[in-house]
Symmetry: C2
Subunit: 335 residues, 2 copies
């Protein structure tokens, strides 16, 4: 963060899906109120007008930085994405994406149904050629430094050219957001040697050698958190499995600690003392807790936050959206 | 382990690659000596006769349960597998696999060059049709129970039928070794729904529905350690990446703890108290520390231990090999 470019002075206008997420609209509105207290951001809450007015009234907010755009319908978290966005044209997702398409806002943030947000983004905003769906990319704040991983699940089957696209888009992102001159791009594989990995990876490897990125070659699973690369490129199947393994191992660690304390109560004090450290390690693995994921490959700024987002996570996603707009990441990628 | 079948009374004869591994021959021989003190195992150390005699002399061993089979050559850990086994016919790997092929031993254990062990096993012992290479499978002792994962890296590109083979072989293994009546088989995917995942996984899913295994459907990365399935089936690319991510996250956890203690020395005592718990969680992720991996799909018992194996790991691998022989796992798989 210390290395990011100085913020421009203008305000960034962001639409927020106030009805999307497990804790909507309460936590979403609370997060919006917290974010709107900062300088440089103007929020448009998208959702049912009467509900959102009531929510805002709770905080006694009379903040000209927050307005409401009415959307009557809500896409449920478990609804099938494509039918949902086709049938619910007046949903908070479709209205929010519409505001973005019309240029009334510069970014759209949603903790709602990820598939529906992606489908709406593809349909309304358009996506880059060669991708089945926009890639989901997120920055993990590992102790060794920030690492952008993509795709985290949108494209379960990738062509070699898709992996090269991820590398190019990811490099630009890290240049713009973290001010890295020449981000090191690693291709996730089952061995470091050029000849290791699936057919997909071997083909992508050859293409990446010629691509205009700082390609450092194959990296292995253990390198994800080691700081060897700034951008890690993989297909959406592997990315999704990895992401969820990380979450599962975090839970396993906590469970093991609980069992150890249950077996030996003398350990309780030690476990309590170290709890913030564990939480921070586990939090590192859950990208959506701290700013959400960017949809790479759509022609505008769309940020997906975790379905479980609380107010703090929403605030962070809004801040991340603001930074993405200011650094003109999507413009640079599209160019 | 409590549920394993009663050991048969006969001795199991096992060949051990005494020259393979980062700490060979010292730690390998030390592990052999420890294992030979147990009943029911007879070991053949394969390697340079003069070297192994000297090593055995250190322990003042005069144990009729340990003999030496001379092999003049050694395959280095970083040597290219196929040329190595073709050129070094008198290597400890080739001689050990030869003893197995001739029926002079019932199992071969090596902490040496994994690729060379696999190549030798395919060449000399033969493998099941449909596999590019024998699958590497290992049991992870998660707090929720043992979970067999395969393939962990031998087949980076799989056909749907390979994944079905893994499911069948894995089920038999868990039935025999853990006495499970009907092991639950999960297919690793990027979502629980039948339609989620790559083309490979979607095809395998349909075939597994009809296969003679207790198929519980797709499982996600977070389910690996959750106890939802007893056998987790995946292609060797994804399996390898996962395995190494687990190792990397273990290192990250230790690194974060070190940093936390460095920043706040008051935490040192707590960290020391909980260290055995961390070590055990991290150890859980490193399968080869506790018994090695079985090569699934070759027509004999070959166990691959970690290259970094110390004497304890070697002893565990020998015990695992003995159990695999006694429970006639490979015979059941081949049948």
């Amino acid at each position: 963060l210390a290395r990011q470019k100085a913020s421009k002075s203008r305000k960034v206008r962001i639409a927020l899906d106030a009805m999307g997420g497990d804790h909507a609209p309460g936590e979403i509105v609370r997060g919006a109120v917290a974010a709107a207290e900062r300088d440089g951001v103007e929020l448009v809450l998208v959702g049912q007008d009467r509900v959102l007015r009531d929510e805002l009234a709770r905080y006694g907010v009379n903040n000209s930085n927050i307005t409401i755009a009415h959307a009557e319908e809500v896409v449920a978290m478990d609804e099938r994405p494509v039918p949902a966005i086709k049938e619910k044209r007046d949903s908070s997702i479709m209205v929010g994406i519409g505001l973005l398409a019309q240029g009334q806002v510069e970014s759209f943030v949603s903790a709602g149904n990820t598939g529906a947000v992606m489908a709406a983004a593809c349909l309304v905003l358009g996506k880059n050629r060669g991708l089945a769906r926009p890639a989901l990319g997120a920055v993990f704040p590992f102790p060794s430094g920030p690492v952008l991983c993509l795709d985290l699940g949108a494209n379960p089957d990738c062509k070699p050219t898709s992996l090269v696209q991820f590398a190019l888009m990811g490099s630009i992102y890290m240049q713009r957001i973290f001010n890295m001159e020449s981000p090191r791009v690693g291709l996730l594989s089952s061995g470091e040697e050029d000849t290791k990995g699936s057919q997909l990876v071997q083909k992508a490897h050859k293409m990446l050698r010629k691509a205009k990125v700082n390609f450092i070659g194959n990296v292995e699973g253990r390198d994800i958190a080691s700081g060897r690369a700034d951008v890690i490129v993989t297909d959406g199947f592997t990315g999704n499995v990895l992401l969820k393994l990380g979450e599962g191992l975090g839970e396993m660690l906590l469970e093991s600690l609980r069992k150890a304390v249950a077996a030996n109560p003398d350990l309780k004090e030690a476990a309590d003392l170290l709890e913030p450290t564990f939480r921070s390690v586990i939090g590192t693995l859950d990208y959506r807790e701290y700013g959400g994921a960017l949809l790479f490959g759509v022609n505008n700024n769309v940020i997906v936050a975790h379905g479980r987002s609380d107010a703090e996570a929403i605030k962070n996603a809004i801040i991340a959206a603001k930074r993405t707009v200011e650094q003109e990441v999507v413009e640079a990628i599209t160019a």
